[in-house]
Amino acid sequence: MENNNLREQILFTANADPKKCMKCGKCSGACPNYDEMEYHPHQFVSMVQNGDIEPLLKSESLYLCLTCMVCVERCPRNVQPARFIEAVRLAKIRQQGENRLTPQQIPAKIEEDTPQQLLVSAFRKYTK
């Protein structure tokens, strides 16, 4: 099954085990960008576990995660939800033509106080 392969690939990239999750929802309780996101940290864990990955790939939530790691820090079971979000995001942008950010888009986004480091990390996060 193609979906199964995708799931395996995401689990491999995430290098974390969704079965450890006890579904307490503390990750989503702690998430600072919860209201902006369509799918929330605990849903990423559960949907990857269930192989329900297509909706995640299509969702803007992939880019709304701030990667602040508070979900990783607060999780009582060390599930590391951010790793699943990251792995799904990578699965998406590693496909051909799926770079989230191109150098041409940069000038329009730059503001006076944009730190250079932000650009570097944005390229890391949103491109192959």
């Binding site: 450890k20 006890m22 579904k23 307490c24 929802g25 503390k26 990750c27 989503s28 309780g29 702690a30 998430c31 919860y34 209201d35 929330h40 605990h42 508070v70 607060r74 999780c75 009582p76 079971r77 060390n78």
Partner: protein, 664 residues
């Protein structure tokens, strides 16, 4: 040459289904020394045992090999059968052809071959068996109970009722334990003090019970039936036998700012104090960390006001040595420290409290006289958020929490939520839960009552962040069923902290050589069939020290524990295990390695005079085993570099003979 009988059991089809039992009996019948060999459907049945007994008589057997299930199952059965017809029970050997053969193999040919090999090994061993006679030791008819909470009190009362003396050692100034701090008990909501304090009084008045309060166990020596324990009676600086508990000193003491541990620091006490009004023994205690007289020599107010001259600033710790036949561990629990969970802001705001603190805030005898006031500004809280599983059910590698469910939190949180709504209906109460676990009589009904009748908001989700802001606690949490994040402005947050074994348990386990699990709970001898005994003979377990449990379970276990203790103390003598280690003094080189590895402290060294081959005498240091303490584990025999240590019933020669028989 032994005359050996071989008995092969079918165990119905358990063995015979996979092992050709006829062939095993036939083949083993040709082994040297075997004079009789047979098979039977159920060897452990009455007729099977009769077959063994009759054969011992008929063929004058000197040794018996039973090919059957694990020796853990029926070794004792067959030893008894042999003994009943005059054969020494230690001349019976079991070849385990069920757990080690039929249950784990599918192919009959190989299984049969393996059964024959194991039978041969057992025969080889029996050839070297010698009759053993178990020694007897007397039993000291007194029990020690360590810990004076509800578990310790109940165990002590039951043992005392049966007519045996019991000493309770309690480390704090009064017995009563955690239950004394609790307001009401679930699911009946009867007042904890009303059901506990009569038991405390009963314990103090029962003539067979002697309470050593404010005391700790310093040293334990000996073995089942014969423990010698040193108890440290810590200095109270008050003569216990004179103090009447009038409390005048505790009113006059000028040192007023000592955090009161009974109220978990929510109020202050004096430097001389009685923990609470119903304390047993009701005796004052001076806290040397705060007493001005003890620190600077300038005060003495308590001594001046004491009408019976009970104050003694020169009192020292006193060591009492007592003998016991049985020791009960009832060391209980404490809630974990929650300040490590910084997301809940426990260290930042006094209005974030643990459930035990909340218990004191609700208690009529607590710091607020039973009126619920939040600690920061003493106002009524109108929104309270309860957080479940704080530190429970964490990852095994977690540094902050525990991997187990603390078991009691779901129910006491339901109780807190219910009582709060009943007393203050204008208060909104939220409970954030992962699962609500209510297995117990009338427990789920109790929780449903909190939801349906009292209108407590149960939210499936978890609090992720608490931020103190402008006198409120901003709570951010997930609501998984509504798929939303909640933001609640709360007045108080109550954390259901995980419970952990009392800190005193670990050093005590070392003293008792009793085993513990990785969470420092005492391990039971068998998790299902011997739940109130430690694997260390003569040590028994009562209450939370063995695992999380509520009050009804604790009391049941405490009484079960007492029954086991009574069963031991009622015996005049204990029959020992003759399969113990012994040292060949001529071969012992005095290296002490056996003493170092012995987990039971059974080995000592003595200087002994020996006559040497050249007719001179020499003094040598040699190992000696106390057979009453030795449990026959064999650690010393494999450690001994000179081969001086050997085990009766499992000698080095016997084990080598078994190995040889298998490898033949």
């Amino acid at each position: 040459m032994q005359r050996i009988g071989v008995f092969v059991c079918w165990c119905g089809s358990n063995i015979a289904g996979t092992v050709d039992v006829k062939k095993v009996a036939e083949t083993l019948g040709h082994e040297p020394g075997v004079v009789f060999s047979t098979d039977y459907q159920y060897m452990c049945s009455q007729s099977g045992q009769d077959l063994v007994k009759d054969s011992i008589r008929t063929y004058n057997l000197t040794g018996v090999v039973i090919c059957s299930c694990s020796p853990r199952m029926h070794e004792n059965t067959f030893r008894k059968a042999a003994a009943s017809v005059g054969l020494n029970p230690y001349m019976v050997e079991i070849a385990n052809i069920r757990e080690q053969v039929s249950w784990i193999h599918k192919d009959m040919e190989t299984a049969t071959e393996k059964a024959i090999i194991l039978g041969r090994a057992a025969i080889a061993k029996v050839h070297l068996n010698a009759p053993l006679i178990a020694g007897e030791t007397p039993v000291t008819k007194r029990a020690l109970v360590i810990g004076g909470g509800i578990a310790g009190i109940q165990t002590a009362l039951d043992i005392a009722e049966a007519g045996f003396e019991v000493d309770i050692v309690e480390k704090s100034p009064t017995i009563g334990g955690k239950m004394a701090q609790i307001d009401k008990t679930f699911p009946t909501l009867d007042c904890a003090a009303c059901i506990l304090t009569p038991k405390m009084v009963e314990a103090s008045q029962q003539e067979n019970i002697n309470i050593y309060a404010f005391s700790e166990v310093d040293e334990v020596k000996g073995f089942v039936g014969n423990f010698t324990v040193k108890i440290r009676r810590k200095a109270r600086y008050v003569k216990e036998e004179l103090c009447t508990g009038c409390g005048l000193c505790t009113e006059k003491c000028p040192q007023k700012k000592v955090p009161d541990e009974f109220n978990l620091g929510l109020s202050n006490r004096r430097a001389i104090y009685i923990p609470f009004a119903q304390a047993v023994p009701k005796v004052a205690t001076i806290d040397p960390n705060y007493c001005t007289m003890l620190k600077t020599g300038k005060c003495g107010v308590c001594s001046k006001v004491c009408g019976v001259k009970a104050i003694d600033y020169t009192q020292k710790d006193e060591i009492v040595e007592r003998k016991y036949g049985a020791i009960v561990v009832a060391t209980g629990f404490e809630p974990i420290k929650v300040d490590k969970f910084e997301e809940f802001a426990y260290a930042q705001s006094p209005d974030v409290v643990t459930s035990l603190e909340y218990e004191r805030l609700m208690n009529a005898a607590g710091p607020t006289g039973g009126t619920l006031l939040r600690p920061s500004d003493k106002t009524h809280p109108h929104t309270i958020v309860f957080v479940q599983c704080v530190g429970s059910r964490c990852d095994e590698k977690s540094e902050k929490g525990k991997p187990y469910c603390s078991k009691v939190c779901c129910m006491y949180t339901a109780k807190h939520a219910m009582l709060t709504r009943e007393k203050y209906p204008d208060t909104e109460v939220y409970v954030f839960y992962i699962d609500v676990r209510t297995p117990g009589k009338n427990f789920d009904e109790f929780y449903r009552r909190a939801v349906e009748h009292y209108g407590v908001h149960y939210v499936k989700g978890m609090v992720g962040k608490v931020t103190p802001e402008n006198g409120k606690l901003k709570v951010q949490a997930s609501d998984l069923l509504d798929n939303r994040q909640l933001h609640i402005d709360a007045d108080m947050v109550v954390l259901a902290a995980a419970i952990e074994p009392d800190k005193s348990a670990r050093p005590l386990a070392t003293m008792l050589t009793a085993s513990m699990d990785t969470n420092d709970f005492f391990t039971e001898a068998h998790p299902k069939l011997r739940p109130v005994e430690s694997p260390t003979a003569g040590v028994f377990l009562s209450g939370m020290c063995q695992g999380p449990k509520d009050i009804p379970e604790t009391v049941s276990q405490a009484s079960a524990c007492a029954a086991k203790v009574i069963g031991l103390l009622v015996k005049d003598k204990l029959v020992g295990n003759p399969c113990v280690a012994h040292s060949d003094e001529m071969m012992c080189n005095g290296c002490s390695q056996c003493q170092n590895v012995c987990p039971y402290g059974a080995i000592t060294y003595t200087e002994k005079e020996f006559r040497m081959p050249d007719r001179t005498t020499a003094v040598r240091r040699v190992a000696q085993v106390n057979p009453a303490v030795c449990q026959g584990c064999g650690a010393c025999t494999v450690t001994c570099p000179s081969g001086a240590m050997d085990l009766f019933g499992f000698s080095n020669n016997q084990i080598m003979a078994e190995v040889d028989a298998i490898c033949k």
